[in-house]
């Protein structure tokens, strides 16, 4: 049997019912380990003091905020090409979660910026492009909300998602060209010396895993909700149709 089997809503519901709890528990576990370890049992950074602890929520959320959009992009493509309703609904379900992740990254970052850069907000390229990502999230959700017919909505939002992604990339480079920033570079990169020290690194990995699992659990659950919503709508419509 192919993976597309799961694109059948009913089957998807059955499977997701079973796996979601596991993701949820896993998420809880990893988050507790990562955050407790990070929060209680790691030393302060010599420069950043205790604020370094923010990294355990800031980085994972930022990381997810970006990848949630990518996942939505993929799902939209699948919907446009193979017309599998589940994938369209998954994209719809993921958007609010991605939005929240973006907000978390923005807030924690802003709060972190206050002691580190002496200001809540600077128009640093990375921060700015994040703000733009935020705009794309609201636009995408607003379009979903505005259209009644679910298929039309799925199609149009998918188109928007694709075009939007292109422009999001363009904006990223535009912003880099526009202003040079204060923000740290990628420090999860593999070359060791410019990487964050292991003491911070290991719990960080745990909390990242936790965030990812939580994201998956939420998306699965919300997709299920969307499917049920759609089914309800279909039943009512048919009922009226044949009243």
């Amino acid at each position: 049997m192919s993976i597309w089997e799961y694109a059948n809503p009913v089957k998807f519901l059955r499977v997701s019912e079973r796996v979601t709890p596991w993701f949820a528990w896993g998420a809880g576990l990893c988050l507790i380990v990562g955050l407790v370890w990070g929060f209680f049992f790691t030393p302060d950074d010599f420069r950043q003091g205790s604020t370094v602890k923010i990294i355990y929520i800031h980085v994972p959320s930022a990381f997810l905020a970006i990848n949630a959009w990518i996942m939505m992009l993929v799902a939209s493509l699948i919907w446009l090409v193979r017309r599998h309703h589940v994938s369209a609904l998954a994209a719809k379900a993921a958007a609010p979660v991605g939005l929240v992740m973006t907000l978390i990254a923005l807030f924690t970052g802003a709060i972190w910026g206050q002691p580190m850069w002496g200001t809540w907000w600077v128009w640093d390229p990375r921060l700015t492009s994040f703000l733009i990502l935020f705009l794309f999230y609201i636009g995408y959700m607003a379009l979903w909300a505005a259209i009644e017919d679910p298929d039309t909505a799925a199609d149009l939002t998918s188109v928007l998602c694709m075009v939007g992604s292109v422009f999001a990339l363009l904006s990223r480079y535009a912003v880099l060209f526009w202003n040079q920033g204060l923000h740290q570079g990628a420090s999860l990169s593999l070359d060791e010396e410019k990487n964050v020290a292991d003491v911070f690194y290991q719990p960080l990995l745990f909390s990242i895993a936790g965030f990812v699992l939580l994201f998956l659990a939420l998306v699965l659950y919300r997709t299920g909700t969307e499917i049920r919503l759609r089914r309800t709508r279909a039943l009512i419509a048919r009922e009226v149709q044949h009243a």
């Binding site: 809503p9 017919d149 089914r231 709508r233 279909a234 419509a237 048919r238 149709q241």
Partner: protein, 206 residues
């Protein structure tokens, strides 16, 4: 020239009609009949290619269709003649504008802005538009709405002429038109039943 076989159409994701099969030859007109909400508009939009069928197929329509729906595609800030000229240009159809004006007795109104026409006059203009498309299959959704009896006859005459010229027409209406070469087609028997699976987008969730 137009033939529809085993067509199923949906509106708002709900199957409305299924198993619709008919053929219209040159010189023929098909008049869709059915109570409100039976799916005539949906069927017509589908045949006109404005919405996809969920199953079945439609043949003989490529670049043959002239569609006139509930709204007329008129610009209230263009006068009657300009409206017609525009559509004639778009459909690349030379001349025939005066004939159209004449057929629907719009000559006295030719320089009037479309926005200043009465309901029935607007409608007449919308129908006159069909004659400047040069298309051979007319798809008309309730063409006689708010036309007076005289205008209804004008319309019938226009359609009759179009048929004589080797055209065809599919139209939905609730009144009697007195068209010769017209065949009634009741859509009620084709209402999509609960047990039929026609693969509309909702099916996946039922």
């Amino acid at each position: 020239m137009l033939s529809v076989t085993d067509l199923a159409v949906a509106r708002g994701g709900v199957p409305v009609l299924s198993g619709v099969t008919f053929a219209v030859e040159r010189g023929q007109a098909l008049v869709l009949r059915g109570p409100n909400g039976s799916g005539k508009t949906t069927l017509l939009r589908c045949v006109a290619g404005l919405q996809p069928a969920i199953s079945g197929d439609i043949s003989g329509v490529e670049d043959q269709i002239a569609y006139a729906g509930h709204s007329d595609g008129l610009k209230s800030m263009l006068n009657v003649r300009e409206n017609l000229e525009f559509w004639a240009d778009v459909f690349g159809f030379k001349g025939g504008i005066d004939a159209a004006l004449d057929a629907f007795d719009l000559v006295p109104l030719a320089d009037r802005y479309a926005g200043q026409l009465s309901a029935g006059q607007k409608r007449r203009l919308g129908l006159a538009r069909l004659m400047v498309t040069g298309r051979s299959i007319w798809i008309l959704d309730e063409p006689t709405v708010s036309l007076d009896t005289a205008s209804v006859q004008l319309f019938a005459a226009a359609v009759g002429q179009h048929l004589k010229a080797g055209g065809a027409a599919v139209l939905a209406t609730h009144i009697a038109l007195g068209l010769d070469g017209a065949r009634d087609f009741d859509v009620t028997p084709y209402r999509a039943r609960l047990d039929v699976r026609v693969g509309s987008s909702d099916e996946a969730f039922l």
